[in-house]
Subunit: 194 residues, 2 copies
DNA sequence: ACTCAAATGGAGGAATTTCCTCCGCTTATT
DNA sequence: AATAAGCGGAGGAAATTCCTCCATTTGAGT
């Protein structure tokens, strides 16, 4: 093994990062089927450059998804470890995941992920890790008696991806305000009914 | 006026209805941009037939939307009039609108409606009627002190269309169960916090 | 039963969209 | 200054979708 890692030239590395960032943006807005040209344009780069770095759509989206999972998994682990109660952890996790960037991306990526979960073990592992972070927090909160017991970690994820759906026809500010309000309602609904 | 209404032949009438029903189905599942061929196929009809009845996509979707609005507006008026309290009305309305058929369709149609609201007065009138039914119920419930006051009728509609989003990659039974659970959570979240 | 206007299906050409390679020019690195 | 890596984006190939057209079938009136 160890074919010498073919290090990228500085400008190429920069462009690569721009492409991924652009993909996150564009995919969040318009889903994973968005034309490659559009991603390239958003990155300020020619299609050629995009295709050299990511030979097909799959490899690009895969990178975007993996990045997202890593970010979130770390966040989840950290949150669960450092919050005093399970309920606090759940609330914090929900709030974080509902933040504009993350929420929109995960919602947009959901169908694509569902379709490729089976064929990509590594990706599935990352997804499961995320899920398990949630489940852990949920179970803890439920054991504390703070959270209703008919909800699992998966439900919570699905719920978040719903609550964070953008409505692209409305101004962004409206969307953002709506989402934060919905999140609060959701959290209220998750509590044990007194 | 009164150009003699050109009555359709019996079979043509039947096919027309099939087409609309198929459009409702397919659009609910895949959105308003679904190929016409697919709608025709689902209706068990050739594209030619579809195009004779609805010369373009707009006229077909318009019919689907108008049908939906009429159904819902009637329901809303009836509910508000016949429920003892505003809160009861809100709960019932939410439950009805979240039923599989209606919920999925309205969610799928939302972007299309947003785009055409401006150009189609009649359609806008119907949409507004729906909204006002909700607002009336909401205000009443809030006056009773049963419902949190930071939510308007529009929020409620948006919320419903979120909660009823299908996840086509999951089995239908799962979706359905999830939705009913979400609706209950939502309703709990709407109550005045004790 | 017979007639004919109405209705039908779906093949297929036109238009559009998206993909992705290719190559002449530019730029980082040594 | 040399050179290998990187770049943009024009443009041909392929896929998708639209929508017309007409040979054939079918319902309705007599």
């Amino acid at each position: 093994m160890t074919t010498t890692a073919p290090r990228l030239r500085a400008d190429a590395q920069r462009n690569r990062e721009r492409i991924v960032a652009a993909a996150v943006d564009v995919i969040s807005e318009k889903g994973p089927d968005v034309p490659m040209e559009e991603i390239a344009a958003r990155a300020g780069v020619g299609v050629g450059t995009l295709y050299r770095r990511f030979p097909d759509r799959h490899s690009l989206i895969r990178e975007v998804a993996a990045d997202m999972f890593e970010r979130v998994a770390a966040l989840a682990a950290d949150t669960v470890a450092n919050q005093p109660t399970g309920w606090d952890a759940v609330v914090l996790l929900v709030r974080h995941c509902a933040e504009p960037g993350l929420g929109a991306l995960s919602a947009a990526l959901r169908p694509w992920l569902a379709e490729h979960r089976d064929r990509d073990t590594e990706l599935r592992a990352l997804a499961d890790q995320w899920l398990q972070g949630f489940e852990q927090a949920v179970r803890k909160a439920q054991k504390e008696g703070a959270m209703r017991t008919d909800i699992g970690g998966g439900d919570l994820l699905r719920f978040i991806s719903l609550v964070t759906c953008r409505m692209p026809e409305l101004p962004e500010a409206t969307n953002r305000k709506a989402t934060t309000r919905y999140v609060e309602i959701l959290i209220d609904g998750l509590r044990t009914t007194a």
